[in-house]
């Protein structure tokens, strides 16, 4: 199925300067009963075809909201206040809802965190996968069914012909997530956004799903954005990483460089506070305090309160997102000195 696309993959890898998908200066606010809070603050992200961008951050850092906003999937109380979302040379924030609907599920697809509740409980798995095909590729009922069964096979669901007619509650968590992925890749999207696709799953199933995603990425030559809170998953699956903290991207780097030499104090703290299965440490070095909730976001560096390296320059003004090398950027007044 991917004969047509594989030939382009090498070109895409070369042409990294013009990313397939780029978010520029995106800000999102939520209206709450207590007023408006800004949950995403001038976020920049980009990903090229065939690459995996790992978007990592703790809960409430705004990583999911960023991607939902980019695809126009925010809940009613969320609003984009500024920014551009460039996909294939078009600004997704400027096109109409109808055009957006044509794009979603076709060229850009998304996989969500909890597959058990993200599938419609009263429709069969097969119906839900066929729907994308009918919508975007105009397949007939029969054609869609045939293709849907192929897709179920492709994502590794055994006995796909029978399972086509089953309902989501008859699927385990891992199988549901495979079905979600089948639905997302039904129209061979150019970009797949996976929002914590393995968080609700067991570790052996997580490994299977991550493997599946990376295989599919290669096979379909997609760009993949992998949203996660787990640095292990990032290390395992990402090519590039963007670290988010309190609504902002604080560091951006290729995965090896990030783990070898983190530049932001937060990234460093995060890495050293991880318990690891591959080594024993006497004591975990924890970051004191907790990430601020959106109501308490400040203009200056938001990590300042928990940082051991801050001084007067950190508060008051936002640390600029400084380019360190061709591939690295960091928003810190006192980046970690490489040793």
């Amino acid at each position: 199925m991917s004969n047509a696309t594989t030939s382009q993959s090498s070109e895409a890898q070369v042409a990294t300067d013009t990313p397939l998908f780029e978010i520029r200066d995106l800000s999102v606010v939520f209206d709450t009963p207590d007023g408006t809070v800004q949950v995403v603050d001038s976020v920049d992200l980009k990903v090229s075809a065939g690459r995996t961008l790992g978007l990592v951050g703790e809960s409430g850092s705004g990583k999911s909201v960023t991607c939902l906003a980019a695809l126009g999937l925010l809940a009613a109380r969320g609003r984009v206040t500024s920014g551009q979302v460039m996909f294939n040379g078009r600004d997704l924030l400027k096109i109409s809802e109808e055009e957006m609907a044509k794009l979603r599920g076709c060229e850009v697809a998304m996989v969500f965190q909890d597959p058990m509740v993200s599938l419609n409980p009263v429709k069969t798995i097969g119906w839900q996968i066929s729907e994308s095909l009918c919508l975007h590729q105009g397949l007939s009922q029969g054609g869609a069914k045939k293709r849907a069964i192929e897709l179920l096979d492709m994502v590794g669901i055994p006995n796909s012909k029978n399972r086509y007619g089953e309902y989501p509650h008859q699927f385990s968590g891992g199988m549901s997530q495979r079905a979600m992925i089948a639905m997302a890749i039904a129209c061979q999207p150019k970009l797949l956004i996976a929002d914590e696709p393995t968080t609700a799953l067991d570790v052996t199933i997580q490994a299977q799903i991550l493997e599946l995603l990376s295989d599919l990425k290669k096979e379909l030559d997609m760009a993949l954005i992998l949203i996660t809170h787990d640095l292990g998953v990032i290390a395992e699956a990402a090519d590039d990483v963007a670290v988010m903290y309190a609504g902002r991207v604080v560091e951006e780097a290729p995965v090896l460089e990030l783990f070898d030499a983190p530049l932001h104090q937060y990234t460093l703290g995060l890495l050293s506070s991880l318990p690891r299965i591959d080594r024993t440490v006497e004591r975990l070095s924890a970051i004191e305090g907790a990430a601020p909730p959106p109501q308490e976001f400040v203009t200056g560096c938001r990590f300042e309160a928990r940082c051991g390296h801050c001084d007067d320059t950190c508060s008051g003004t936002r640390p600029p997102f400084t380019k360190i090398s061709a591939t690295r950027r960091v928003a810190c007044m006192h980046p970690v000195k490489s040793t």
């Binding site: 009613a76 809802e97 609907a101 044509k102 599920g105 419609n120 409980p121 009263v122 639905m183």
Partner: protein, 309 residues
């Protein structure tokens, strides 16, 4: 599925039996019915003749056994007043009640569901607020008072519609509007909240992410899910409708079973009252049973086979 339905049916029959028994004893708690039928001076000897004839000379328990046996044979007793079979008396009123109830119910469901869905899809807007305000107002209004206001305005002031009776289609309008207004208000409210609940679910976001147009999201993804709780609620409203029609038939002198009930209650006509209650209870219980079965059909998660695999 069979097991599921069988258990429901057994439960329903049991419930019905309790209702019949309870009603039998509660009505008998009122003392000798003959005193309300005959005037005070009637000689005891005459009364005794009637006691034997109507079987109320025996002990309460014997009467109950006999009554229950009769019901099983399809004999619902005779009216103390005109001596006719209670079954015949009630049955000749049923068509009119069905006409009023059926019209009201079907219109209310259609209007209520539509308004509720519109309100939910336009959550927080003018339409939502308007429909919900009207809905709260509709069921805060005592139905008999609304009936009087409508009569006052349409019949007495404008002289467009008849005040009472059931001889033409025109007679149907006021009673069914009165009953239906409250009913559709309540159905609208339920539909709206069920719909809002569904619209909040993650799978609706999946549908959007899939690129389904708005109309398709609503019809194919939201409605089938919202239908599940709504159907239950609509089933429960049937009982309310019957209760309400008793009042409305009285106000509009609609010659249905509800008005018959009020009359029968007034003169303590045991057989008719018991039969009416039995019929109402079995109607409501059957409706709830059907809703349960429909529920199992609408919601694949109800494990109809008793096992998930």
């Amino acid at each position: 599925m069979t097991r599921y339905i069988l258990i429901k049916i057994l439960r329903s029959l049991f419930t019905l039996w309790i209702v019949v028994t309870a009603v039998f004893f509660v009505l008998r708690a009122s003392g000798d019915p003959l005193y309300s039928v005959f005037s005070l001076g009637t000689p005891e000897a005459t009364l005794d003749v009637f006691r034997v004839k109507w079987g109320i000379d025996k002990s309460m328990f014997e009467q109950y056994i006999i009554y229950f046996g009769d019901i099983l044979r399809g004999d619902f007793g005779t009216s103390f007043f005109d001596g006719r079979q209670a079954w015949d008396i009630v049955m000749e009123r049923i068509p009119k009640t069905l006409l009023l109830g059926g019209t009201t119910f079907s219109l209310s469901v259609i209007i209520g569901v539509a308004l509720g869905a519109v309100a939910a899809l336009n959550h927080g807007t003018f339409w939502d607020r308007g429909i919900m305000t009207a809905s709260v107002a509709s069921f805060s209004m005592p139905s008999y008072f609304l009936a009087l206001l409508l009569i006052l305005f349409f019949s007495l002031y404008l002289r467009w519609l008849p005040t009472a009776g059931a001889s033409t289609w025109w007679h149907l309008i006021l009673p069914s509007v009165t009953l239906g207004l409250t009913l559709s208000g309540s159905i609208a409210r339920f539909t709206r909240s069920a719909m809002l609940e569904v619209l909040r679910q993650p799978y609706m976001r999946t549908a959007r992410a899939k690129g389904a147009p708005r109309r398709r999201q609503v019809i194919w993804h939201a409605l089938p899910n919202a239908a599940i709780p709504t159907v239950t609620v609509i089933g429960f409203q049937l009982g309310w409708l019957i209760g309400g029609s008793v009042v409305i038939e009285t106000v509009f002198s609609w010659p249905g079973a509800g008005r018959l009930f009020i009359t029968a209650v007034g003169v303590r006509d045991f057989a008719v009252v018991q039969l009416f209650i039995l019929m109402v209870a079995s109607t409501v219980i059957t409706a709830n049973l059907l809703v349960d079965i429909l529920y199992g059909y609408l919601d694949p998660r109800i494990s109809v086979t008793g096992d998930s695999k």
